[in-house]
């Protein structure tokens, strides 16, 4: 049984194509359900960052991007989607943190049941993706080291 399973699994792996933004349900700041596929608008690339209230490096990374955002947006057209992986208990706290950190230019979504996180295979936060205007994932990075945000911007520029 196990052997067959592993064989099936290997077959599955061998059929890898370019990964795309999956279509799962998350909530916006008002508790309205939105489909993640709708984040793709066919015009602008995105930085998608998975974060949590308890994840210090995640907040550091989003703060760093936020500080540079006014300069970057002059050079390239892009959006930042911050996906809170906090469960229902911490959603209110996540919302106030985003407000108190001035992330007003970000698209904030809340993945309370972890569906988006699982579909994107996020194991550790911070996990960041760069996605082109058609929803294709062109780059991703696990963890944050200060300064890592410059690499994201280089990729965003190459997608213009």
């Amino acid at each position: 049984m196990k052997k067959i399973l592993f064989a099936a699994f290997a077959l599955l792996i061998s059929s890898v194509a370019m990964a795309q933004i999956p279509s799962v349900k998350v909530e916006d700041g008002k508790g309205k359900v939105i489909n993640t596929a709708e984040l793709v608008d066919g015009e602008t690339p995105m930085i998608i960052s998975f974060w949590a209230v308890t994840c210090k490096p995640c907040i550091r990374e989003l703060d760093a991007i936020n500080d540079l955002y006014p300069d970057w947006i002059e050079e390239a057209n892009f959006r930042v989607v911050a996906v809170s992986t906090d469960d229902a208990r911490f959603t209110a706290q996540a919302r106030s943190l985003a407000e108190g950190h001035g992330w007003s230019d970000y698209t904030l979504v809340y993945d309370k049941n972890g569906d988006f996180k699982r579909a994107m295979n996020v194991q550790f936060t911070p996990q960041v993706y760069v996605v082109d205007k058609n929803g294709k994932i062109v780059y991703s990075h696990t963890g944050y080291t200060p300064g890592g945000e410059y690499e994201l911007f280089e990729i965003i520029k190459s997608l213009q």
Binding site: V16, G31, A88
Partner: protein
Amino acid sequence: MRKVLLSLLIASSVATSLVAQNDTKGYVVGSFESNSIVYVDDEVTQAQKPEGNFGTNNYLKADYYLGNFSAGLQLEAYQPALIGYPANLEGARLTNYYMQWSDGDFDVTAGTFYDQFGSGILFRTYEDRTLGVNSALMGARVAYQYKNIARIKALWGAPRLGMEPAKNTQVRGVDASLSLSNLLNMTDMTLALEGSLLNRFERVGATALESGAKPSTMGYSARLNFEKSGFGAKAEWVDGGEKMYNNPNPIPGVTGNDYLIKNSNAQLLELSYSGGGLGVSLSARRLEWMESKISNSSYETNNALNYLPALCAQYSYAITNLNPYIVQPGTTSGHINSGEIGGQLDVYYNFKRGTALGGKRGMKVNLNFSTYYTLKEEGSFVPKTLLWRNVNVGVEKQVSRKFKMQLLYSMQEYNHSHGVGKGTWLSNIVVADLLYKYTPTFSTRMELAYLTTFEDKKDWMSALLEVNFAPSWSLFVSDMFNHGMTKVHYYNAGFSYTEGRTRVALSYGRNRQGMVCSGGVCRLMPAYTGGNLTISTSF
């Protein structure tokens, strides 16, 4: 059931891989994580070691997507499990597998899946690898959404306990949500009514039946969700149905009093406001006999059918987590306590650039206050004994282009007997977290912390130095020192290397016995010393 699902999964994966070679749009994503520790002797901390001085937890997950269809699986291997993890995690197994079909309105899932009703007080199945929790339901779920007005889902299954679905437990549930604001076309606000029903079935033994335990119990919850111009309110009322607890003082020779049957209930209220750089949230929660187990005969951390996290400040510095708050949903072991009541206030404010306090680069402030008590008596809303209290003040400031400073003050008062007695330990903690960027990609970060208390092990201090070469390398050394009493150094050093989606981290050090917490839920970790290798990748 298992076999049918498995064969379906295999058939579909073979079929889809054949299709995929014909260049359809199907694609596979997956991830692998391995966490291994080599344990060494350490007499100073009386470090524990498993047999063979080695432990390793491994997870392989893959998902396949083709249009509206998706399927996936997860393999787990504990050879053996790292110490401190639930004992029911052992060996290698295909633990999770599912198939799902979804279009805009319908969702059908067969196999293992995660779900929750409301905030999870009544029901939640989830995965948290830090805690060794994976309670995925093995069964089926159907969900339907009518425009943006109504949502309903029905599910049935056996929750996973350890490496496989629980043998004697099954749950059935329905959850529904109605958006009144969308129904009545009120565009400037959100108003929704929600409700859930949950039936839990577990075979019970003859002595439990004599005590009045029922195999089948019903729980339900009603919820309200409101949002308008930055102001939000959420209310949840839960009746968890009858729960079975061991009777700590059974009368000898009398039948039918080995167990106590308790009616469980919970209330939650959450108010929030966000706007103009200010974020405020206030929550209050009361729990009575609310512990919900997958199996009544297991005592592992991963034996939970609901989610009751500590609603207090969540700390990310080691020294602030020496005595984290452990939720008291009701217990009869050791002493009888019917539950807890308490609340939390959390405030974030952003002093904008150019203001008096904000200066040139702005300043962020966070305040947190929380306090929890045992219930005076069953059915009561009156608090009795203090379980936990914290006051936190955090300030974050980009001082110059190169230098960023975060300061935290935390006062924690912790009832070390969890409500049996009134005695508490009071600690005052200060942390300075200093980041200096020499070049855009080369930086150092230093954490200096001090904890002062007259109780327990007296004063602690800690320091950490991190050297970062973005985006790939990070090195650290740290030490946490109990100079108030034991004079033990808990040292650690290590590095991590990240290349795209692959991360490798290696560290060596001494770890104290204590609670490991994730998302407000904790498990006890024994003291250990050793080398830790973590590899994670996704594709």
